[in-house]
Amino acid sequence: MSDALRELAATLSGAGEALWEAGGERRARWLATAFAHIARADSELGREAVQVLAASSGLSEAMVRWALDTTLGPLTFETLSAIERMPEQPGAVRARPGRLCAVVLAGNVVTGAARAVGYPLLFGWPVLAKASSGDDALARLMEAALAESDPELADAYRVVTYASQLEALTAVLLQQADCVIAYGSDESVKTLRAQTGSTASFVGHGHGLGVAFIGRDADHAEAARALALDVAAYDQRGCLSPHIAWVERGSAEFASRVQRELAQLAVTLPRGRMPYELAGAQLTWRGVSAMRGELFEGDGYAVSFEDDGPIRVSPGFRNLQVLGLDDVSSLPAKLAPLGVHLKSLGVAGVRDLTALARTLPAGVAPRVCALGQMQTPPPDALHDALPPWEGLLRWIGV
């Protein structure tokens, strides 16, 4: 098995030359065509994508459709080619990519593979993606779509999966790579970083969550509607998903509004099945919420409200904690304990996002955006405070 993996890595590396010579525009077109194919609701691949992704992720088909539209839809030729041209280094030219980029995928966001795999390919790296065996659906669909989109470039991308007992193979895989991009728990990222060769670049995306802030001037009806979408997206299982919302001079009324919006979304974007094992965590979370403050719950969603209190990360699956906050000036101190884990800060009723960003404490560098956009960062957005090409570019000074 180790030899087969080394052989596969060598084959992919061999395809790197053609990928690089194809140029940025052709690679952008190759990727955009494949993404459009998967996202098309009326294509055979598009229908298969919805079914397969819903089955493997546990999300509802409507939720998967939404995820594909919002993730793959913006990855157009124009956008991708613009990103490919974006990085510049005065007095330097781009070096050719290394032998191979190994991408280790996490299993919780069904569309995670799109950018994770797509960007290294866009910048000319052959990619070997490692997915967990029950969660490789989009990575596999991309294999098929990319082969159809531009068969000459298709040899630069493969997916591997193997049983957890064979995890030792990951070390073999990583040793073949000059760049490693890893998604997963902090613990997994730490392990993968240790297994990566000393000369390879490593970009880790560990644990994370999102939070929201609703300023005193916000339109509560609009903010509740937008926040509910951020909570419902991916059933609150992603690392950008909001778990806590602070409302300046807030009351239970806002929590009740969010609950009503979640009730609407339960119809249009139904929640998927909840693993039995997680229902216990949900029960505990809701129970403590009911004890500490007010709990507004429905079938498949809940919103708690407390005037003040410790933050309590929910088990996901559309359970949101709303807390009151006297003044926006208190927000940085509330966010400080979240540190690097805070990946997304959705806001409403704040006129100057830049000024708010400047108040954030050391180590806290989320993407700051309007509510309703927390789960749909634009293609060129920073991810974990890093540009999309982090780890993928080296420069030759001239």
Partner: protein, 343 residues
């Protein structure tokens, strides 16, 4: 006669393993009314969670996690005589269970242990593989094991801790002495302490007939993990003991459950059920759900507790299937424990 006195009387009456569910349930009803009136966080919880009140299963059971976030007590702070805290790496992550009177705790612990662990012997040598209560004064396990030494131990009893260096050698000497003298011993401790002992001793003992082992708790990253069946085999092989009893307890409870096989025996003053995790409806025998325990001995906090443990009720009793993992297929999303640095 006060409610406390009547509960104490029931515990004493059921100490031998007898059951009187009608008497237990009557006291549980009374205790519910007492606690919803006198434990403010529980009153708030009941107000939001109570939808009907036709049988005991309708009484809202408080998640054990609630003890991490609020003082769950019917009496004021100044009356506390002891506060048990769960293990954890940060203060925020630890449950606190305040006790204002130890009489029910002691009576329940003594009666259950007498029935499940020491039905055949008034006293014997107890070797405790856990910290003494002096070292961990807020550990309910250390408190209970220290009481066991008082109630069931003879002069040969002692704590052996930690499982290394001179203490390990002392354990070895105690075991050898028991073998040579033909005096049975009871080894009681946490699962991870036994793993450390098994790894360090590297020899086998044929402890005299009548010897027994009580293990409790999980591993919590403090030793390698060993599957339950393998653990039993290792304990039998290493110590030559047939009787191995598992104890199930928690900081938030005042009573303990015991298993000699795969089913837990619950004392007659507790009421154990399994509920559906989303609807909270009681599940019939054979269906897996979350374990709920109503414990009459929890008189000064809340008697109706919802655990996060998965279990199934079978003819032999409750079969525990372990803690419901909070991190199933979560990938890069974070869990509360991870954020708090506990877990």
């Amino acid at each position: 006669m006060t409610l406390r006195a009547r509960i104490l009387s029931l515990i004493e009456r059921l100490a031998g393993g007898a059951r009187d569910d009608a008497a237990r349930d009557a006291l549980l009803w009374e205790l519910f009314e007492h606690q919803r009136a006198n434990v403010p966080p529980y009153a708030r919880y009941v107000k939001q969670r109570l939808h009907a009140l036709n049988d005991l299963g309708d009484i809202p059971a408080l998640p054990t996690d609630a003890f991490r976030f609020a003082r769950i007590a019917s009496r004021p702070l100044e009356e506390d005589v002891l506060v048990f805290r769960s293990s954890g790496t940060t203060q925020d992550a630890r449950s606190s269970h305040a006790l204002q009177d130890l009489s029910l705790y002691d009576a329940a612990a003594q009666a259950a242990a007498r029935h499940a662990l020491f039905p055949d012997r008034e006293r014997m040598a107890l070797l405790i593989l856990a910290p003494h209560e002096r070292e961990l004064p807020d550990s309910s396990l250390s408190y209970m094991l220290s009481r066991f030494v008082e109630w069931f131990g003879d002069d040969g009893s002692s704590h052996v801790w930690p499982m290394q260096g001179p203490e390990l050698e002392r354990l070895r000497a105690r075991l050898q002495h028991a073998v040579e003298a033909g005096m049975p011993v009871a080894l009681l401790g946490t699962s991870f302490a036994f793993v450390h002992a098994l790894d360090a001793l590297q020899e086998q003992f044929a402890l005299p007939a009548g010897s027994r082992i009580m293990q409790t708790g999980g591993f919590k990253g403090r030793s390698r993990e060993v599957a339950a069946d393998e653990m039993r085999t290792l304990l039998r092989t290493t110590f030559g003991v047939e009787r191995i009893v598992s104890e199930y307890g928690m900081t938030e409870l005042s009573s303990q459950l015991y298993a000699e096989g795969e089913h837990l025996w619950s004392p007659g003053w507790t009421r154990v059920s399994v509920v559906h995790p989303e609807t909270l409806q009681p599940l019939p025998h054979g269906e897996t759900g979350l374990v709920r325990i109503d414990d009459l001995a929890n008189i000064d906090s809340v008697a109706f507790l919802q655990t996060a443990d998965l279990g199934v009720l079978e003819a032999g009793g409750l079969r525990l299937l372990g803690r419901a993992p909070a991190a199933v297929a979560r990938g890069c999303s974070i869990t509360a424990d991870e954020l708090l640095g506990g877990g």
